[in-house]
Subunit: 83 residues, 2 copies
Protein backbone atom coordinates (compact mmCIF):
# COMPACT_ATOMS: atom_id res chain seq x y z
CA UNK A 1 0.00 0.00 0.00
CA UNK A 2 1.05 3.55 -0.58
CA UNK A 3 0.31 6.67 1.36
CA UNK A 4 -0.12 9.85 -0.64
CA UNK A 5 0.00 13.24 1.02
CA UNK A 6 -1.66 15.99 -0.98
CA UNK A 7 -1.29 19.72 -0.28
CA UNK A 8 -3.74 22.03 -1.99
CA UNK A 9 -3.12 25.77 -1.86
CA UNK A 10 -4.73 28.79 -3.46
CA UNK A 11 -2.71 30.19 -6.33
CA UNK A 12 -0.73 33.32 -5.67
CA UNK A 13 -2.89 36.35 -6.28
CA UNK A 14 -6.14 34.62 -5.39
CA UNK A 15 -7.76 36.31 -2.41
CA UNK A 16 -7.79 34.17 0.72
CA UNK A 17 -10.39 35.52 3.18
CA UNK A 18 -9.93 32.51 5.47
CA UNK A 19 -6.21 33.17 5.66
CA UNK A 20 -6.87 36.84 6.32
CA UNK A 21 -9.21 35.91 9.17
CA UNK A 22 -6.55 33.62 10.64
CA UNK A 23 -3.96 36.36 10.38
CA UNK A 24 -6.24 38.95 11.99
CA UNK A 25 -7.16 36.56 14.80
CA UNK A 26 -3.53 35.77 15.50
CA UNK A 27 -2.64 39.46 15.51
CA UNK A 28 -5.53 40.17 17.87
CA UNK A 29 -4.29 37.42 20.19
CA UNK A 30 -0.98 39.26 20.38
CA UNK A 31 1.03 37.42 17.75
CA UNK A 32 1.92 40.57 15.89
CA UNK A 33 4.86 38.83 14.19
CA UNK A 34 2.42 37.05 11.85
CA UNK A 35 2.68 39.00 8.61
CA UNK A 36 0.66 36.76 6.36
CA UNK A 37 -1.39 33.57 6.48
CA UNK A 38 -2.72 31.37 3.71
CA UNK A 39 -5.00 28.43 4.35
CA UNK A 40 -5.14 25.33 2.21
CA UNK A 41 -6.19 21.72 2.38
CA UNK A 42 -4.24 18.65 3.29
CA UNK A 43 -5.27 15.10 2.44
CA UNK A 44 -3.85 11.71 3.13
CA UNK A 45 -4.93 8.94 0.80
CA UNK A 46 -4.12 5.27 1.24
CA UNK A 47 -3.85 3.61 -2.14
CA UNK A 48 -3.64 0.01 -3.12
CA UNK A 49 -0.54 -0.62 -5.23
CA UNK A 50 -1.76 0.13 -8.69
CA UNK A 51 -0.17 0.53 -12.07
CA UNK A 52 0.86 4.14 -11.86
CA UNK A 53 0.13 5.91 -8.59
CA UNK A 54 1.53 9.26 -9.72
CA UNK A 55 -0.64 9.40 -12.80
CA UNK A 56 -3.71 8.37 -10.82
CA UNK A 57 -3.11 11.01 -8.16
CA UNK A 58 -2.56 13.71 -10.79
CA UNK A 59 -5.89 12.69 -12.31
CA UNK A 60 -7.72 12.72 -8.98
CA UNK A 61 -6.39 16.17 -8.13
CA UNK A 62 -7.32 17.64 -11.48
CA UNK A 63 -10.79 16.04 -11.54
CA UNK A 64 -12.01 16.17 -7.96
CA UNK A 65 -9.67 17.22 -5.20
CA UNK A 66 -8.44 20.59 -6.39
CA UNK A 67 -9.94 23.33 -8.50
CA UNK A 68 -7.18 23.91 -11.06
CA UNK A 69 -8.53 27.36 -11.93
CA UNK A 70 -7.65 28.83 -8.56
CA UNK A 71 -5.67 26.13 -6.75
CA UNK A 72 -2.28 24.51 -7.00
CA UNK A 73 -1.51 21.08 -5.67
CA UNK A 74 1.54 19.14 -4.66
CA UNK A 75 1.84 15.61 -3.42
CA UNK A 76 4.30 13.13 -2.04
CA UNK A 77 4.07 9.35 -2.29
CA UNK A 78 5.32 7.14 0.52
CA UNK A 79 5.97 3.55 -0.40
CA UNK A 80 5.22 0.40 1.52
CA UNK A 81 2.97 1.63 4.28
CA UNK A 82 1.67 -1.26 6.38
CA UNK A 83 -1.39 0.93 7.25
CA UNK B 1 11.34 36.39 7.61
CA UNK B 2 10.38 32.83 8.20
CA UNK B 3 7.81 30.68 6.51
CA UNK B 4 6.01 28.17 8.69
CA UNK B 5 4.04 25.31 7.16
CA UNK B 6 1.46 23.81 9.48
CA UNK B 7 -0.33 20.52 8.90
CA UNK B 8 -3.39 19.82 11.03
CA UNK B 9 -4.92 16.35 10.97
CA UNK B 10 -7.65 14.61 12.91
CA UNK B 11 -6.33 12.23 15.53
CA UNK B 12 -6.46 8.56 14.73
CA UNK B 13 -9.82 7.14 15.75
CA UNK B 14 -11.70 10.39 15.26
CA UNK B 15 -14.38 9.98 12.62
CA UNK B 16 -13.69 11.92 9.43
CA UNK B 17 -16.91 12.29 7.42
CA UNK B 18 -15.25 14.66 4.98
CA UNK B 19 -12.55 12.11 4.29
CA UNK B 20 -15.16 9.40 3.87
CA UNK B 21 -17.00 11.58 1.35
CA UNK B 22 -13.76 12.13 -0.58
CA UNK B 23 -13.05 8.41 -0.57
CA UNK B 24 -16.57 7.53 -1.74
CA UNK B 25 -16.44 10.15 -4.48
CA UNK B 26 -13.09 8.88 -5.71
CA UNK B 27 -14.35 5.31 -5.69
CA UNK B 28 -17.46 6.38 -7.59
CA UNK B 29 -15.28 8.10 -10.17
CA UNK B 30 -13.56 4.77 -10.76
CA UNK B 31 -10.52 5.13 -8.53
CA UNK B 32 -11.21 1.91 -6.68
CA UNK B 33 -7.60 1.73 -5.47
CA UNK B 34 -8.34 4.43 -2.90
CA UNK B 35 -8.73 2.52 0.36
CA UNK B 36 -8.87 5.42 2.77
CA UNK B 37 -8.87 9.21 2.80
CA UNK B 38 -8.39 11.66 5.64
CA UNK B 39 -8.79 15.40 5.20
CA UNK B 40 -6.92 17.98 7.22
CA UNK B 41 -5.86 21.59 7.06
CA UNK B 42 -2.72 23.15 5.73
CA UNK B 43 -1.54 26.65 6.59
CA UNK B 44 1.38 28.78 5.56
CA UNK B 45 2.32 31.59 7.89
CA UNK B 46 4.89 34.26 7.20
CA UNK B 47 6.49 35.38 10.44
CA UNK B 48 8.76 38.24 11.24
CA UNK B 49 11.96 37.01 12.84
CA UNK B 50 11.02 36.88 16.46
CA UNK B 51 12.62 35.54 19.60
CA UNK B 52 11.48 31.96 19.41
CA UNK B 53 9.45 31.02 16.37
CA UNK B 54 8.99 27.38 17.41
CA UNK B 55 7.53 28.30 20.76
CA UNK B 56 5.26 30.93 19.20
CA UNK B 57 3.96 28.49 16.60
CA UNK B 58 3.32 25.80 19.24
CA UNK B 59 1.33 28.39 21.16
CA UNK B 60 -0.68 29.51 18.14
CA UNK B 61 -1.56 25.93 17.23
CA UNK B 62 -2.66 25.07 20.75
CA UNK B 63 -4.66 28.26 21.22
CA UNK B 64 -6.25 28.98 17.87
CA UNK B 65 -5.26 26.95 14.84
CA UNK B 66 -5.90 23.40 16.00
CA UNK B 67 -8.32 21.80 18.41
CA UNK B 68 -5.98 19.71 20.55
CA UNK B 69 -8.84 17.51 21.76
CA UNK B 70 -9.39 15.95 18.36
CA UNK B 71 -6.55 17.22 16.18
CA UNK B 72 -2.82 16.74 15.88
CA UNK B 73 -0.51 19.26 14.32
CA UNK B 74 2.93 19.28 12.82
CA UNK B 75 4.90 22.15 11.40
CA UNK B 76 8.10 22.95 9.59
CA UNK B 77 9.98 26.24 9.71
CA UNK B 78 11.80 27.54 6.65
CA UNK B 79 14.41 30.19 7.32
CA UNK B 80 15.18 33.31 5.38
CA UNK B 81 12.26 33.61 3.03
CA UNK B 82 12.45 36.82 1.01
CA UNK B 83 8.63 36.61 0.56
Amino acid sequence: MKKVKIYITLKQGVLDPQGKAVQDSLNTLGYSEVLNARVGKYMELTLDDSVDVEKQVEDMCAKLLANPVIEDYQYTVEEGIAQ
